[in-house]
């Protein structure tokens, strides 16, 4: 019950955070240089047309009034009109968000599995060859940004060795019937495993490019935690008591070592939605990050606010999930929550 209270309390904080974020972004987007209507229209558009468009989009009203209208519309599920795509921002978000979430989910799997495997191998053999190899991988992985990986992978595995497709998230003639908007889920619902496989084939390179930085960083954290904990008294005692090595490794060494990595992983994965844009642009992945950058470049007021809010919401939810996982793994946190 304490955990449920904790989750409810954190969820309430999320709502307040999002409200604050919405005010901040709404104001920031409007005070930045550049008249969005002038940007949208050709330079010689007559002033009366510019004024008419401004009026239509309520940009002639005071900022507070604009915010009130926006908030009212949001509660009815309308995120406003996009000057860039010339349609409802809600429609845009619903179209682009699933593609990004799917890509991030696969990248998250790569990141978590890769980081654990590499971290444990390096932690098990500290200062030996496997540890050194993982260290080099980590340095390279952390220092090279994801878009460089994206270009390298594309050139290597789509052009030189054409194993994977160059761009896109699915072949057009293979798309499953749209039910939820998520290709993966729709493929499963409609039993189109060929579509799922095709999506996976498209997603592997961008997901890998997106996950490498986080994977490298998390592997180092897990490895450091394991090496540090290896010298702890309770490990010595467990070894002296003759407990099997596998038990010591995974129950007493790995579990406490992964706790700091879980928080970082949560942040990494949450941050991917905002940071995925170079990868999405290189692979022409029809996702929300790419859309977000384009609307920011064109000062599309409502779309900017919507994208930032969606990213903020997902970031907050991912953080909450990471905290819950940490609380589950680490009994001390559970006890702290109970006040013991």
């Amino acid at each position: 019950m304490r955990m449920i209270t904790y989750i409810v309390k954190r969820s309430a904080y999320i709502i307040f955070t999002l409200f604050g974020l919405s005010v901040l972004v709404f104001v920031l987007a409007r005070v930045l240089p550049g008249d969005p209507v002038r940007i949208m229209l050709p330079p010689r558009t007559p002033p009366e047309v510019i004024e008419q468009v401004r009026k239509t989009l309520r940009l002639d009203k005071p900022l507070i009034e604009q915010y009130f209208y926006w908030l009212r519309d949001v509660f009815s599920g309308d995120l406003g009109y996009s000057l860039y795509t010339k349609r409802s921002v809600t429609y845009d978000v619903l179209q682009y968000l699933p593609a990004s979430l799917e890509l991030i989910a696969l990248a998250a799997i790569f990141e978590v599995v890769g980081a654990i495997v590499l971290g444990v191998i390096a932690g098990r053999f500290p200062y030996k060859l496997p540890d050194n190899i993982v260290r080099i991988f980590s340095y390279v992985g952390i220092s090279i940004p994801s878009f460089v990986w994206a270009i390298i992978f594309q050139l290597l595995f789509a052009w030189i060795w054409p194993i994977f497709p160059t761009t896109g998230n699915i072949d057009r003639d293979i798309s499953p019937t749209t039910v939820t908007g998520f290709i993966t889920i729709d493929s499963l619902i409609t039993g189109r495993f060929d579509a799922l496989a095709n999506w996976l084939w498209h997603a592997i390179l961008p997901a890998l490019a997106l996950s490498l930085g986080g994977m490298a960083q998390d592997a180092r954290i897990i490895r450091s935690g394991m090496v540090e904990n290896m010298d702890k008294d309770y490990i010595t005692m467990a070894t002296a008591q003759g407990l099997p090595e596998r038990l010591i490794m995974f129950k007493y060494l790995f579990k406490p070592s992964i706790i700091p990595a879980v928080t970082v992983m949560g942040m990494d994965i949450a941050g991917m939605l905002g940071n995925a844009f170079p990868v999405e642009i290189v692979y022409r992945w029809p996702g929300l990050s790419k859309y977000g950058i384009e609307v920011m470049m064109n000062k599309d007021l409502n779309a900017i606010v919507a994208v930032v809010l969606v990213i903020g919401l997902i970031f907050a939810i991912m953080n909450l999930i990471a905290d819950v996982i940490v609380a589950y793994i680490d009994p001390r946190i559970r006890l702290m929550e109970r006040g013991e």
Binding site: L32, P33, G34, D35, R38, I39, M40, L41, P42, P43, R44, T45, P46, E48, V49, Q52, V53, T56, L57, Y81, Y84, T85, K86, R87, D92, Q95, Y96, I151, Q154, L155, A158, W159, P162, T166, T167, I281, V282, Y283, R284, P286, K290, Y291, E294, K299
Partner: protein, 609 residues
């Protein structure tokens, strides 16, 4: 008579005896029956087992037969696949034309005016008149036209037999509706017509008349941007009560089909939109009932796609997943693609010129001698040799591809002349003795990195040869637009490309140097010269083309003499294309109007075997 001694207990015993006799007998006889039935069932079961056994045997035979049939079927299928492959090899490959663009693309011809949108309109719609590479306007939807003596009434005879994609015939009513819709929405190319068109009159099914507010000589040239939409189709798809609610001829016409046209078309062009994924691509297929005879190998399908990363375009070109690249590829990528087999580079004028726009109302560039000193000190040749290698030094204040252009360039690098002009300036010698008080600010557009190199070259020339001070400022495009809206926030120099709105010199003369353009991003000069304004207006109101072009020439000479800008170079577009594409623009047949150089009516595709 009473039966004595017969007690109740006896009665019970008698009943029990009766029950004891009757129940077993009934039970026995019943069991005997069942036994019989069981026996029957047993017999039947045995029979059934026997039949089943026979059936199993028979089924096993059938299974074997089915197995054999399946094997034969598989062999047949395999053979069929082989035949199919052979046939596919023999059949002509589908002709697909895939072109990269900077996005977004607006499929609605009353909304967009950028490169990709303009190119899409050329494919999907028919313009009222059509431009040619030789600088003529030829009949298209309008098969003939005439203009009244006063230049205020333009009457067009509409070609009969043109069909929209819906199957309905294009009439004068559609042409009139298109013009009214453009003016009512006011976006896209609407600005070309709003200041001039007063009224649109349908004279009969195939005759339409535009009545102008004032004579406008290039009116015919602007009509290459009037892409005819189908009235009925649009009226059928109007949304009321949404973001847009227009009134046309006093009638509420909702959004005038804007929402529907985001993903559909209402055109009569050679291609029909089949799929629009906003932010991604537009897919079109050939319209079989197109009225104009097309060459035999034009594309069956066209995809215009958003491409923003040069490395992606490069990979797609090398994999033959793209036929023509976007126009903003870096020189190194173009060189690499040129070196690859089967890819060539097309170079043609983009119809735009690159300017250093000098503020004519701000110290010290308000002095014509300072402006001329800057114009003579700049190294133009170095710009086109090292920074924009495909481009050519400008020969006027309008690009050479504009109709009505005249070669009147008087500025070239001449340091002696530059120093001479500097000494004539009212700020001399203070400007040389205290250059820190006259720092010339150059704002270059952050989104076009090569502009910084031009700005640095300019600073080097000015500081080294004239001893003045230059401050180079990287400025986001949006900030540029904002700061150019007022004279007090406009810097000394903005570095900007400006393109023709319609193919005549008058287009740029007006948008660059007329006072009404001063608060827009197309003019940082704040020239505000009433005489020049009158000259431009006079030229634009001249109906006779020859006379109008003479006036354009005179204005160009006057502007060059005023030296409000540095006329650096005519921008040349460079695009890589597959050699299996026969592209007229790559062969030098260039139409200097944005969008018309990628006209799928004339591009033929021969997919490699």
């Amino acid at each position: 008579m009473a039966i004595t001694g017969f007690r109740r207990i006896d009665m019970v015993i008698v009943i029990l005896l009766i029950i004891a006799i009757i129940v077993p007998s009934v039970a026995f006889s019943y069991m005997a029956g069942i036994s019989g039935e069981v026996s029957t069932i047993k017999d039947v079961t045995e029979d059934l087992l026997a039949v089943t056994s026979d059936l199993v045997n028979a089924t096993s035979g059938i299974a074997e037969a089915v197995g054999a049939f399946e094997t034969t079927l598989a062999q047949l299928q395999s053979r069929l696949a082989e035949i199919n492959n052979t046939l596919q090899g023999l059949l002509p490959k589908p002709r697909i034309l895939r072109v990269g663009f900077a996005w977004p693309t607006e499929p609605d011809p009353a909304v967009g005016s950028d490169y990709s949108s303009s190119t899409t309109y050329v494919a999907v719609y028919d313009p009222l008149v059509y431009p040619t590479p030789t600088g003529e306007i030829i009949p298209w939807v309008a098969e003939s036209w005439n203009v009244s003596e006063d230049g205020l009434a333009w009457t067009f005879k509409i070609r009969q037999g043109i069909k929209f994609h819906s199957g309905r015939e294009l009439t004068a009513e559609d042409v009139a509706f298109t013009m009214q819709r453009m003016i009512t929405i006011g976006e896209g190319y609407g600005y070309l017509f709003i200041p001039f068109v007063n009224e649109t009159v349908v004279l009969d099914d195939y005759t339409v008349q535009f009545k102008l507010k004032k004579p406008f000589g290039p009116f015919l040239s602007t009509l290459v941007r009037l892409y005819i939409v189908e009235k009925e189709e649009i009226m059928d798809h109007i949304v009321y009560g949404g973001t847009y609610n227009y009134t046309m001829n006093g009638e509420n016409v909702g959004d005038l089909g804007r929402e529907w046209l985001l993903t559909h078309d209402a055109g009569s062009g050679p291609y029909m939109i089949t799929e629009v994924v906003r932010e991604e691509y537009i897919r079109m297929v050939r319209f079989e009932d197109y009225w104009y005879p097309l060459p035999p190998n034009v594309a069956d399908e066209i995809v215009y796609m958003a491409l923003a990363v040069p490395s992606t375009e490069r990979t797609m070109m090398l994999k033959r997943e793209l036929e023509i690249t976007s126009q903003w590829l870096p020189e190194e990528v173009l060189t690499a693609l040129d070196a690859a087999g089967g890819i060539d580079i097309a170079t043609f004028p983009g119809g735009d010129e690159f300017y250093f726009m000098m503020h004519c109302n701000k110290t010290p560039t308000d002095d014509i001698h300072i402006r001329k000193a800057l114009a003579y000190v700049m190294d133009y040749e170095k710009v086109v040799e090292e920074i924009y290698p495909a481009s050519v030094v400008s020969r006027s204040c309008v690009p050479a591809s504009a109709w009505g252009f005249v070669d009147c360039q008087i500025y070239h690098r001449d340091v002696d002349k530059a120093l001479e002009e500097l000494q004539k300036s009212k700020y001399y010698p203070d400007i040389v003795e205290h250059p820190e008080n006259y720092v010339i600010e150059v704002h270059w557009c952050r989104e076009v990195p090569a502009e910084e190199k031009v700005a640095m070259l300019f600073a080097e020339c000015v500081e080294r040869d004239l001893g003045l001070r230059v401050n180079i400022v990287e400025t986001p495009w949006l900030t540029m637009i904002e700061e150019m809206a007022k004279p007090e926030t406009s810097p000394h120099i903005e570095t900007i490309f400006v393109a023709l709105h319609y193919p005549e010199a008058g287009s740029l003369l007006e948008s660059r140097y007329h006072s009404k353009s001063a608060p827009t991003w197309e003019q940082n000069e704040w020239l505000l010269n009433a005489t020049l304004d009158a000259m431009i207006e006079d030229a634009l109101s001249t109906i006779d083309q020859e006379e109008r072009f003479e006036k354009y020439a005179e204005i160009q000479r006057v502007i060059m003499d005023m030296c409000p800008s540095l006329f650096l170079f005519d921008h040349m577009i460079e695009m890589a294309y597959q050699t299996y594409v026969d592209w007229p623009a790559a062969r030098g047949e260039v139409i200097p109007i944005m969008g018309y150089n990628i006209d799928p009516r004339t591009i033929q595709v021969y997919p490699p075997g």
